[in-house]
């Protein structure tokens, strides 16, 4: 408890500025910092527990670290890792493109478009992605043949057996991508809403069409808001691809690893191999996200990497080379 009259008791010491006033700056403060004993003790305890955990894992014979090292770079694992990346990237592309379309539909003044977008998001967010993966893998049972034609008219231009068109990978990518689109739609919508209305008005007053305004003005600015959560989604997707194991037909990382350990019973080491790859990819995605954020943050002054002089140089250089390559044009 502080005494109530403390402020009056110890009034601030008067600093002698000297006769010169502002030009004689008082000596900088050198004070003894507060010692945070509690924090130091807590740090030691936590470090001790962490070291013990690492030591016990490293020494545990059942972890079979030799097997981990042995399998880590085997071609069969590398190939499965590549499939995992493939699934992640394609599903995210489907998700991002689909999500952007859904977001624009959702913001449309046409009730049919915004309503359908709402319905899509409602359905795909309302059912587990695990269930959706299984449903897509059985798509061929529900629709044994796929036709291209006009519904309700009986017109068909061609038909194929479903299991020829929608193989394991396609079904998995559809399940993951269409589900992702529902989540991405909300992220993109948030990004679009975050762009000031004055931007659209300025673009329109310059005679830009709706599509051009979106592509050139609104979406590039929305990206700044969209990228961080989208990076989250990508990392989440990377690990969600392991759910595809339920179908058993796509040899991605987790499926492959579980096939292996069901034969050789090296369960723990193989799971660690898979986990290490997931962590490596997550790290790589995080680095990629950093550069994307920097790109779309340009002009917002937070993490400018290029000076205006450098940009000017670049621009003039491209101008000079363009002049050389196209003689006879205006100068």
């Amino acid at each position: 408890m502080e005494p109530a009259d403390r402020t009056s008791a110890d009034a601030p010491p008067v600093i002698d500025r000297g006769a010169g006033g502002s030009d004689s700056r008082p000596e900088a403060i050198k004070a003894v910092p507060v010692r945070h004993w509690g924090r130091w003790i807590a740090s030691v305890v936590v470090l001790y527990i962490f070291a013990a955990l690492i030591y016990s894992l490293a020494r545990n014979q059942n972890m079979e670290w030799g097997v981990v090292a042995d399998y880590m770079f085997r071609p069969i694992i590398l190939k499965a890792a590549a499939v995992t990346i493939e699934l992640t990237v394609i599903a995210m592309i489907v998700g991002a493109v689909g999500g952007t379309l859904l977001a624009i539909m959702r913001l449309s003044k046409n009730y049919v478009l915004s309503g359908l977008s709402w319905l899509y998001i409602w359905f795909f967010r309302g059912t587990p992605v695990y269930v959706q993966i299984v449903i897509w893998s059985f798509f061929g049972v529900v629709y044994p043949k796929i036709f291209i034609g006009l519904p309700f008219t009986g017109l068909a231009f061609g038909g194929w057996a479903t299991n020829k068109v929608i193989g394991g990978v396609v079904a998995a990518v559809l399940a993951l991508g269409l589900n992702e689109a529902a989540y991405a739609a909300e992220l993109v919508r948030a990004g679009i809403i975050s762009v000031d209305k004055g931007q659209t008005e300025a673009a329109e007053s310059l005679g830009m069409s709706f599509g051009m305004t979106m592509r050139r003005i609104v979406l590039p600015q929305a990206m700044r808001v969209i990228i961080p959560p989208m990076g989250n989604e990508t990392i989440s997707m990377l690990k969600t691809t392991s759910l595809v194991a339920v179908t058993g037909s796509v040899l991605e990382l987790f499926t492959q690893v579980s096939h292996l350990y069901s034969q050789n019973f090296k369960i723990m080491p193989l799971l660690i191999v898979a986990s290490l790859w997931y962590i490596i990819f997550t790290t790589l995605f995080t680095i990629g996200q950093h550069y994307l954020e920097r790109h779309y943050g340009r002009g917002f002054g937070t993490n400018e990497t290029e000076t205006a002089e450098k940009r000017a140089q670049k621009r003039l250089q491209s101008k000079v080379t363009a002049d050389v390559s196209e003689p006879g044009n205006w100068d």
Binding site: G207, F300, E304
Partner: protein
């Protein structure tokens, strides 16, 4: 600065008014913002709209380039009905693309500048000529450079808007609008968001434009600008034009009590 700022802007097609408003009404919900406005701005004229906030000045300006749809009356720019095709006695709403074509011929400068923050100054100016007019990129860059030089920003070509002062941003915005070689320029309180000491540099550019014969409709609180550069002045309040005429008359010898009251408050 020998070059004309507005060099090459499209001339009016005939002797008809550049802007003609006939009994324009506009409401937001139940609130009538414009209540039958009549206005004629001739080519090469600078017309200043004065009046208290909420009087309908900005709304009228935004109706001129169809950023707002009018509810009743007619509005023409250079003889073209804005936002509608008239076939016989029936009005058909214009497709967005056709509205865009009409807007491309009308430049607009906003109170909050509304520069594109992800583009540098020169990119802001080049964007519409390249994308809307499909102008050759080198040509657009050359013209953008000239325009920015004319508004005194030769050193700031590759700077992002966030690194510019308000006055500099507004001058980029004017250059951006001029790059489309508009036949009409609309200014919506272009100096209201500026520090007092930056107002002059923007007004100077606008005065030059006025002298060069650009047709301009300006919503502003700068009485000095109206006095010096305007050919016509109107005082708007309550959604109607209270008084209209040459600046000497409206500002120097107002007939209406409302105008006198407004001027007495603004000028002190």
């Amino acid at each position: 600065m020998t070059q004309e700022l507005s060099a090459g802007h499209a001339a009016s097609t005939s002797g008809q008014p550049m802007v003609k408003a006939e009994q324009v009404w506009k409401s937001f919900g139940k609130l009538d913002v414009l209540k039958g406005v009549d206005l004629v701005v001739k080519p090469k004229e600078t017309f200043v709209l004065l009046g208290p906030s909420g009087g309908g000045k900005s709304t009228l300006l935004r109706c001129i380039n169809h950023l707002e749809k009018i509810d009743a009356g007619r509005l023409w720019v250079d003889g073209e009905l804005m936002g509608y095709h008239q076939r016989g006695s029936i009005l058909h709403e214009m497709h967005h693309k056709d509205v865009a074509k009409q807007r491309a011929k009308i430049g607009m400068v906003f109170q909050r500048f509304n520069l594109f923050p992800h583009l540098t100054a020169i990119q802001n100016v080049m964007e519409a000529p390249v994308k809307v007019k499909k102008m050759d990129k080198k040509q657009a860059e050359h013209e953008a450079e000239q325009l920015l030089t004319e508004v005194g920003l030769k050193e700031k070509l590759d700077v992002y808007p966030a690194q510019l002062s308000g006055g500099q941003q507004q001058r980029v915005a004017i250059a951006r609008a001029l790059a489309m070689k508009p036949k009409l320029m609309l200014f919506d309180e272009p100096t209201s968001a500026l520090d007092p000491e930056l107002v002059g540099e923007v007004l100077d550019v606008m005065k030059r434009l006025a002298h060069e014969g650009m047709t301009m409709v300006v919503v502003t609180h700068e009485i000095g600008f109206a006095r010096e550069a305007a050919d016509g002045v109107a005082l708007m309040d309550g959604g109607v034009i209270v008084e209209m005429g040459p600046p000497e008359q409206v500002l120097g010898d107002p007939k209406e009590e409302r105008t006198k009251l407004f001027l007495s408050k603004v000028l002190t």
